[in-house]
């Protein structure tokens, strides 16, 4: 009961602290708001870049061309062998007739050339289209597929895929680095602003000590105050993320510049981002307060 009373009073004191020192609280909240908006923008950007790279990576396919002389039994054997290869995610048999049909449908030029081909004249080969689980090991899978009897050629955009992977990996690392750096800068900025707020209340802390408040008695309301400042400071960034991203998504119809660059669906993305922003605000607010009060408890 006593503990609950003390916790309740700590929250009450923290609320009073925020409102009775409103100008400084406002400065802290503004600082948190501005920095968290920057963090929010960078999170939205980096997540979308990450999402885009994943989509592209998922689209990379190994095409294994099958000898046109191969019988149905041989094709089944090839299929069985492909299924045993590690790192193969999905595979699909595409007959030369299907491919021809798709090509004719996709272009009038192809249609005019191919419409008179007989099955014997058709140079297009039956294929297996294979997707891998780990794109970085695509070369290894391609090599194994190439060794299977009845496979005449394997193509997966060698060279280009490796380059794409290393570029995306680089972008991914840059994005993570930028977000982490921004969070660190935010933590530093917010904790310094809160420190100024608390420095101005040095006298108050001194008085609390003089009348017998333990370090915990003093520290907890200030840490809760930091929590409140962090939470209040994250309100506008969260609203900006939710409404801003939804508006962006609607405005661009889910794509950026071309249908190829798909944006992440707003739900649940905006909510997880908002939760992360709230967590950063609260954690940094509490840490800033803790750091600032600590200084005045070493008497």
């Amino acid at each position: 009961m006593k503990t609950f009373r003390i916790i309740g009073r700590n929250f009450r004191d923290a609320f009073k602290g925020v409102f009775r020192n409103f100008s400084l609280s406002f400065a802290s909240i503004s600082c948190i708001t501005i920095t968290l908006i920057v963090v929010a923008v960078s999170m939205v950007l980096s997540n979308n870049v990450d999402n885009f790279t994943q989509l592209v990576e998922r689209d990379v396919t190994i095409v294994a061309f099958i000898d046109n002389e191969a019988t149905n039994e041989q094709i089944d054997e090839i299929k069985d062998e492909i299924s045993t290869i590690n790192n193969v995610d999905t595979y699909e048999f595409r007959s030369k007739q299907n491919i021809t049909k798709d090509m004719r449908e996709s272009s009038e030029v192809f249609d005019s050339i191919m419409k008179n081909w007989t099955d014997e004249e058709n140079p297009i080969q039956n294929t297996f289209q294979i997707k891998v689980k780990d794109i970085e090991k695509i070369k290894n899978v391609a090599n194994q597929v190439e060794k299977i009897d009845g496979i005449t050629l394997v193509k997966y955009g060698e060279g280009m895929v490796e380059q794409l992977i290393s570029t995306f990996d680089f972008i991914h690392k840059i994005c993570i680095g930028a977000v982490v750096a921004l969070i660190l800068v935010t933590a530093f900025l917010i904790s310094n602003t809160i420190k100024i707020t608390i420095n101005s209340r040095q006298r108050e802390i001194g008085i609390m000590r003089l009348i017998g408040a333990s370090n915990l008695n003093i520290r907890i309301p200030f840490i809760i105050e930091g929590l409140l400042l962090g939470a209040l400071g994250s309100v506008i960034p969260i609203l900006t993320t939710i409404y801003g991203y939804n508006a962006l998504y609607r405005n661009f119809d889910g794509h950026l510049f071309s249908p190829f660059i798909k944006l992440i669906e707003p739900v649940p993305f905006v909510y997880t981002t908002s939760l992360i922003l709230l967590a950063i605000g609260i954690a940094v607010g509490m840490f800033g307060s803790w750091r600032a009060v600590r200084k005045y408890l070493k008497i």
Partner: protein
Amino acid sequence: MTNVKKTYKTGVTAIQNLNLTISKGDFVFIIGSTGCGKSTLIKMLYREEKPTSGQIIVGGIDVGKLRNGKVYKIRRKIGVVFQDYKLLPKSTVYENVAFALEIFGLPKDEIHAKVLKVLELVGLKNKIKNYPSQLSGGEQQRVAIARAIVNGPKLLICDEPTGNLDPTTGMEIMEVLEEINKLGTTIIMVTHDINIVKKMNKRVIVLDSGRVLKDYAKGTYSNENI
């Protein structure tokens, strides 16, 4: 206090070889010229300063041995009143006094009753919602006294409590302290105001260069000059 010595980091020795016993229920004035060690002496009592050597026992606690994190233990047993009141400026009279009880986690009703009782004792029951800036110097000092005694300390330390007040208000504060002393609280008061010391007829300790120069028993000081 036994063989207490205090030398600051600057090399200044404020208290040297001081031996002093103050009994339960006493009202003691500590006087002396500026720099004689009065403030250092009482700061050591509430562990704002640590003695360099010697032993200080307050209510059974060896205050010199208290670690920083445990200082609150002695502060909760004593009340301290300062010349500059040291009130929380953004808290009301009621909140300033109640705060000293809230840190113990007492129930709201109990706090309310105790705060009103003590504010009545110092004559400020009608100003509980005022902020310190809305009070006169004398009233602020009464709030500080109320805060210092609200949890029933056995010892009340007063560091020039009348220093910022006019003589009439100063005497009113002394009357409040006298009342508190009559209720059984030991009072140690540092002051420069010789008139108050003479009028009150209490035990008087005169410090000089960090040593006890004279120790007048109750009622003997007003007849002598130093």
